[in-house]
């Protein structure tokens, strides 16, 4: 009865996808990145980086973490995000069956190299709905600027 709970359509393909990724890792090929399923098991948190003319935005998908326990540092152009996710342990003695344990727990650390024009002195970080958004402003000098042409006649 219990195992039937986990048999859902698509499960088989998810398994294949996972297997494919593991094989790729084993064989040293990095083609797995082009997978349509972007969630890479074993990489926590997933990170997206985007740029605007004014800033560099880093999104770390780290659900279920106390924002106070997230550690964000910048050192020599490297942004480090570290923290710990505590697994909800079942109460001792309770009769609990575990069917799936896909969510990762424990400490994590990810490093992102920032573009050269990022200003480490002007950074903001906020955590909302499990996503940590870090915004690093670009240096004034590197922002696109419009140069006014003076009429010298």
């Amino acid at each position: 009865m219990a195992s039937s709970y986990l048999r859902f359509p698509g499960d088989l393909f998810a398994d294949f996808d996972d297997l494919h990724r593991q094989l790729d890792r084993l064989l040293g090929s990095r083609t797995a990145n082009s997978s349509i399923r972007a969630v890479q098991r074993g990489t926590f948190p997933a990170v997206n980086v985007g740029v605007t003319p004014e800033a560099v935005d880093i999104f770390a998908f780290a659900p279920g973490i106390d924002p106070g326990k997230l550690d964000v540092t910048i050192d020599k152009g490297l942004l480090t995000i570290s923290g710990e996710r505590i697994a909800a342990a079942p109460e001792a003695g309770a009769k609990v069956n575990v069917y799936a344990r896909e969510r990762s727990a424990g400490s994590f650390r990810r490093v992102v190299s920032l573009p050269e024009d990022a200003d480490p002195d002007r950074v903001s970080a906020d955590y909302r709905d499990g996503v940590l958004r870090i915004q690093v402003q670009k240096r004034e000098a590197s922002r696109p600027r419009r140069i006014e042409v003076k009429d010298a006649r």
Binding site: M1, A2, S4, Y5, L6, R7, F8, P9, G10, A14, N33, I36, R37, A38, V39, Q40, R41, T43, P45, A46, V47, N48, V49, G50, V51, T52, P53, V56, D57, F59, F61, A62, P63, G64, I65, A88, P90, A94, K95, V96, N97, V98, Y99, A100, R101, E102, R103, S104, P115, Y127, R128, D129, G130, V131, R133
Partner: protein, 128 residues
């Protein structure tokens, strides 16, 4: 760093429907009173999360909302889809009318209680 052509997170609703959904990672545990399902849905919020029970299929679906993203150019993206979707087949002893759901910091916790008659029961033996 690669430069993916996809936007960081799609804002257009039609485009969201076209992208393959991400499968959220879950923990599933069962105790005597029911089943607890915990799913990681970073970027999902309460207003747009949809939980549907159709027959014996439970579907969790949520778009990824990252806030204001205008003129953001993606540089590197591990999360390339704009939504989450995963379905589960429920078994008959679960009471789908009393599912309790909470979403906090991108973690969805679903409590699926068992029907009263399906719970283990201890029968007291009285002394006559």
């Amino acid at each position: 760093m690669s430069t993916p052509q996809q936007p960081l997170a799609r804002r257009d609703d039609n485009a969201v429907a076209d992208t393959p959904a991400m499968i959220p990672l879950v923990d599933v545990t069962e105790d005597e009173a029911g089943i607890t399902l915990v799913a990681d849905l970073p970027g999902a919020n309460r207003d747009t999360l949809s939980l549907n029970v159709d027959g014996d299929t439970l579907t969790i679906e949520a778009p990824l909302a990252l806030g204001e993203l205008s003129d953001l150019q993606p540089l590197y993206a591990e999360v390339r889809s704009g939504r989450y979707r995963r379905s589960f087949t429920l078994s008959r002893e679960l009471d789908s009318s009393r599912i309790d759901a909470t979403l906090r910091d991108g973690v969805l916790t679903l409590r699926l209680p068992k029907l009263e008659q399906a719970r283990p029961r201890r029968i007291d033996v009285r002394t006559a």
